[in-house]
Amino acid sequence: MLTQTDLEKVAKLAKLGLTLEESSRLTNEIEKIISYFQQIKHLDLHDVTPMTHAVSIILPLRYDEIRPTKCLVEYLSYKKFNYISVPAVLE
């Protein structure tokens, strides 16, 4: 059973600011969806390995050579003197 307090805690972890109305409505909707998901919890899966990906990935290697890259700083929306600008994090 998902409570509104649980949801508000999850929202905090997900860095989502929700209004009271939103968190109340979403609690009811999400509770219904999670109840539907419960169906897979009753399957016998003790011999089954988890599948994380559709293809087996071997990390590819390449020569460590410098290639021309685009300077992404010009695409930043919030910058001062070519640095990202944010509110002060230290007093």
Binding site: F37, V55, Y75
Partner: protein, 479 residues
């Protein structure tokens, strides 16, 4: 009978006309732009249209091209791109307020390959916000309508791409398919929609939603057009470590090949929840194929009934992680605050729509301490069972035929307040994404209440040729 406009013709027909000097490249673009201007105000299929660029490129091609025998596969062909795929120096909004002002620094690999094959990128198409939906109603830029009847949804999430191909506002389009987002709108709009094998098309430049499932796909007017575009974008890419490093065969569609195939029909398909009228159309179409393919047999995919729960748990978990990057710091929307954590929360609250928030919340919940094994871990195991079902089934058949969707298109607004009902519409499409295999939706030869019925043909990994050949055979039933 009046002859069709150029924008209504297949790619090969247009290229023949070019070779015969009956038309110029700029005639094709003019025809497509005229159609967009007459239709898109009603449909809202496009978020951005590159009219001037497209005309300039076509005029340039008319000037440059002397030897028409040397046409590239997509020379002068206008292709639309879903607005979660990057096109250099153009907006890539993902249908979201949070990226409404985001300009792509580079072309996605699939877009670069389209350009290298001569295509003209005509515009960026509407989608459910961050490709999360099955109706193209949750876009910040308003819903897209179904060109067959404007009161109905076009399906989703690549609803803009399917709609513009349907009304001939492009001759083909790229979409993305995480759980059916190419095939679902293809079915609702009556066009072809191909989801390639996971890793066959590079995801570089596709905005990540659920990385282990995401796939760039193709929407086309015909199976042959779809194959031409797929041939162009497929292949290994060092910018995406998950692309498959095997040679790409240039597929030339041949419906006669199906005489040597075995077609599998899963016995679980005709289950509760499937519209009986759709079931009949599928049955009739399969019977129609019997004259061309003698080997049609029943197969079993018992895990299908768990596909929705498994798919949504995995995609929401991956989405909650992928969408953490939208925090108002580097790019996109920022809602100002004097405190950094508050800036994150306010930006994300204002920038994301309800469905995206819902998925981030469920994904975060499913990954959180104490719930990880119960939800995400369990879903990963069931995913393996679903893949094993397909491995087993493809020992006995080459392709599997099912409906694409269990229901026909619904009216705009009809399901938007019932997210679970919307999710259940993905029952037939999500298994292919979970297993990482390929599938195509093609309109059945019969309509119900004016709407097409999507038939899905699924193949094993790298089985694009056999599903395209089978799709072509279905396309030919009424020809």
């Amino acid at each position: 009978m009046t002859s069709p406009d150029l924008c209504d013709l297949a790619i090969s027909v247009l290229h023949n006309k070019i070779k015969n000097r009956e038309i110029k490249f700029s005639d094709i673009i003019t025809s497509v732009i005229k159609r967009i201007k007459s239709e898109d105000q009603k449909i809202n299929g496009y978020i951005s249209i590159f009219e001037e660029d497209a005309i300039n490129q076509a005029v340039e091609l008319d000037k440059m091209m002397k030897n028409f025998e040397q046409l590239k596969p997509l020379s002068g062909i206008p292709i639309a791109v879903k607005d979660n795929i990057c096109v250099k120096d153009k907006l890539t909004t993902c249908g979201s307020k949070i990226l409404a002002n985001f300009i792509s620094p580079y072309d996605a690999t699939a877009v670069a390959k389209l350009r290298a094959a001569g295509a003209i990128i005509i515009g960026k198409t509407n989608l459910d916000e961050f490709a999360m939906g099955s109706s193209t109603e949750t876009s910040y830029f308003g819903p897209t309508s179904n060109p067959i009847d404007n009161r109905y949804v076009p399906g989703g999430s690549s609803g803009g791409s399917a709609a513009v191909v349907k009304y001939s506002g492009a001759l083909g389009a790229l979409g993305s398919d995480t759980g059916g987002s190419v095939r679902h709108p293809a079915a609702f709009c009556g066009v072809a929609g191909l989801k390639p094998t996971y890793g066959r098309v590079s995801r570089y430049g596709l905005v990540a939603f659920a990385s282990s499932l995401d796939c760039i796909g193709v929407l086309g007017k015909t199976v042959a057009d779809t194959a031409i575009i797929f041939n162009t974008i497929a292949g290994h890419d060092e910018m995406d470590a998950t692309t498959i490093n095997t040679p790409v065969k240039n597929i030339s569609v041949d419906s006669n090949a199906i005489k040597n195939y075995t077609i599998g029909i899963p016995k679980e398909v005709f289950a509760e929840g499937l519209d009986g009228r759709i079931a009949k159309v599928i049955d009739d179409t399969i019977n129609n194929l019997r004259s061309r393919c003698r080997n049609i047999k029943e197969v079993s995919l018992p895990g299908t009934k768990y596909a929705i729960a498994t798919y949504y748990l995995i995609c929401m978990a991956e989405a909650s992680s992928n969408l953490a990057r939208y925090d108002g710091v580097k790019y996109g929307l920022r809602v100002s605050s004097s405190e950094l954590k508050d800036l994150y929360a306010r930006t994300r609250d204002d920038g994301f729509n309800t469905e995206v928030k819902r998925r981030i919340l469920i994904g975060t919940y499913g990954l959180s301490k104490g719930y990880y094994d119960e939800y995400y871990g369990t879903a990963q195991k069931v995913r393996n069972l679903i893949k094993q079902d397909f491995d087993q089934a493809f020992k006995d058949c080459n392709v599997i035929i099912t409906p694409t969707t269990p229901v026909l298109p619904f009216k705009l607004g009809e399901q938007i307040s019932d997210p679970l009902a919307m999710y259940l519409g993905d029952i037939f499409t999500t298994p292919a994404n979970l297993a990482g295999i390929t599938a195509i939706s093609i309109p059945a030869p019969v309509f119900i209440d004016n709407f097409p019925v999507g038939i899905q043909i699924t193949g094993p990994a790298l089985g694009e040729e056999q599903i395209l050949n089978t799709a072509k055979a279905i396309e030919e039933i009424n020809e």
